[in-house]
């Protein structure tokens, strides 16, 4: 019997974890935004198109969708489509910056079955959080969480992207989540979207990553979205599939209907097709060239001689791609430093060519958008 991991790597009839970004519009301009969101795309899927995709999702027996953006609650038809999902038996888990969670919308969401919420927060206080997510955001998120609590929404997730400046706050995140009866989720900062520029200064140091690994290992109840599987090379694997699921177990549909291998590779290189083409989403998932090739066995490449390859699988494709490393190179954050060596070698040979964002919906700098912070006061 082949291992489950191998079977999943070969692909599934339908994705398990489908991320669907509902809009590129966003009222925030977080410095690390993986989708480079800000301005709504003029070609955004219409309400009817959105419902058509929900129909396809239900037909493919996809159990639930992970909704995001941009800020999904900015879509005027947000609740209409949510209710349509519930009606069709598709579970909804959506991620929000919390700015549109009011007492009223919290009550409305609390009354809906199948709906799970994740709120983003990147610092335990105003100074840390707002440096990433913008002025006043910390206060707004606390308000949103209060509204959910007051509306008896039940458990929600609080999701934090680990940066150099907030890793030290993990115990405080746990305490805050406990205060609300919420689940804590910590995820890896990848050099995707606006992160392409900010990653090099903001990603955790290697020591911080080791500390984080040990902290997570002792707390299996803390969610990670399998985003730290590269750290499993340090020893006992972290809970989760420990596998790059791009095009195999996961994929993403963007606000204009384009399908990408995963949320962290919103780039033409990893675009599999469009749901607007004949055959819709099913055709792209089942027979696109990109996904077919991702489902073929990969070689270990530069990691072939490393004893830890089985544990980490060479790491995250997106992280390699956006730092300019080839896909068979070690992960830039390889726990043994092989990624750093590879990057240094690139620099020595004339510099890494970093891909830039294929579709940048960011608002211009100055319109509520900060430059990256150098120090936190």
């Amino acid at each position: 019997m082949t291992s489950l991991k191998n079977q999943l790597a070969a692909g599934l009839n339908s994705p398990i974890c489908l991320t669907w970004e509902w809009t590129y519009a966003c009222n925030l301009q977080c410095v690390h935004c993986l989708s480079s969101s800000g301005r709504r795309d003029p070609n955004e899927l219409s309400t009817e198109e959105m419902k058509g995709i929900v129909d396809q999702i239900a037909e493919m027996q996809i159990f639930y969708v992970n909704i995001g953006g941009g800020e999904p609650m900015l879509r005027p038809d947000f609740f209409e489509i949510m209710e349509y999902c519930v009606e069709k038996g598709v579970g909804v888990k959506f991620s929000t910056n919390g700015s549109r969670i009011t007492a009223e919308s919290a009550k409305r969401l609390a009354g809906m079955d199948y709906v799970d919420i994740q709120i983003s927060l990147d610092g335990i206080d105003e100074a840390t959080n707002d440096a990433i997510r913008g002025d006043g955001v910390y206060a707004r998120v606390r308000e949103a969480m209060n509204h959910l609590r007051d509306a008896n929404f039940g458990s929600f997730k609080m999701s934090v992207v680990m940066t150099r400046q907030n890793v030290a706050q993990v115990n405080e995140y746990e305490a805050l989540a406990n205060e609300y009866g919420a689940e804590l989720r910590l995820t890896r900062f990848r050099p995707s979207g606006r992160g392409i520029d900010t990653w090099h200064e903001l990603h955790p140091t290697s020591q911080q990553q080791v500390d984080l690994y040990n902290w997570l290992l002792a707390r299996p109840h803390v969610l990670t979205g399998d985003s730290f599987f590269h750290l499993s090379a340090l020893g006992e694997p972290l809970p989760g599939l420990n596998l790059c699921g791009a095009g195999r177990v996961v994929c993403l549909i963007d606000p204009v209907g384009d399908v990408y291998a995963c949320p962290f590779v919103l780039h033409d290189e990893f675009k599999a097709g469009s749901v607007r083409e004949e055959g819709g989403f099913a055709a792209v998932w089942r027979s696109s060239e990109l996904f077919t090739s991702l489902r073929e066995p990969t070689s270990a490449g530069a990691c072939g001689s490393c004893g830890a390859y089985d544990a980490c699988g060479g790491g995250c494709m997106a992280t390699k791609f956006f730092t300019g490393l080839p896909l068979d190179a070690p992960d830039p954050e390889c726990v043994f430093g092989h990624g750093e060596e590879a990057l240094a070698a690139l620099e020595a040979n004339g510099g890494a060519v970093r891909p830039s964002v294929s579709k940048d919906h960011s608002k211009p700098i100055g319109v509520g958008r900060k430059r990256i912070p150098v120090t936190i006061a």
């Binding site: 019997m1 082949t2 489950l4 191998n6 079977q7 790597a9 070969a10 398990i16 974890c17 991320t19 993986l34 639930y64 992970n66 909704i67 995001g68 888990k93 959506f94 991620s95 994740q118 999701s159 989720r185 995820t187 969610l223 990670t224 979205g225 399998d226 985003s227 599987f229 809970p239 989760g240 599939l241 596998l243 790059c244 699921g245 791009a246 177990v249 996961v250 995963c262 949320p263 066995p297 089985d310 995250c316």
Partner: protein, 37 residues
């Protein structure tokens, strides 16, 4: 370690060569898959 990716669709042998029981049910946290949310 060699990785074989042939799917043994029709094979449902429940004991491996050592006669041990196979794991027919495996649970994975839905959060255990790489995605944003």
């Amino acid at each position: 370690m060699e990785q074989t990716l042939e799917n043994t669709e029709t094979e449902s042998v429940d004991t491996d060569e050592f006669g041990e029981e196979e794991l027919l049910v495996e649970e994975i946290s839905i959060d255990g898959m790489c995605g944003v949310y």
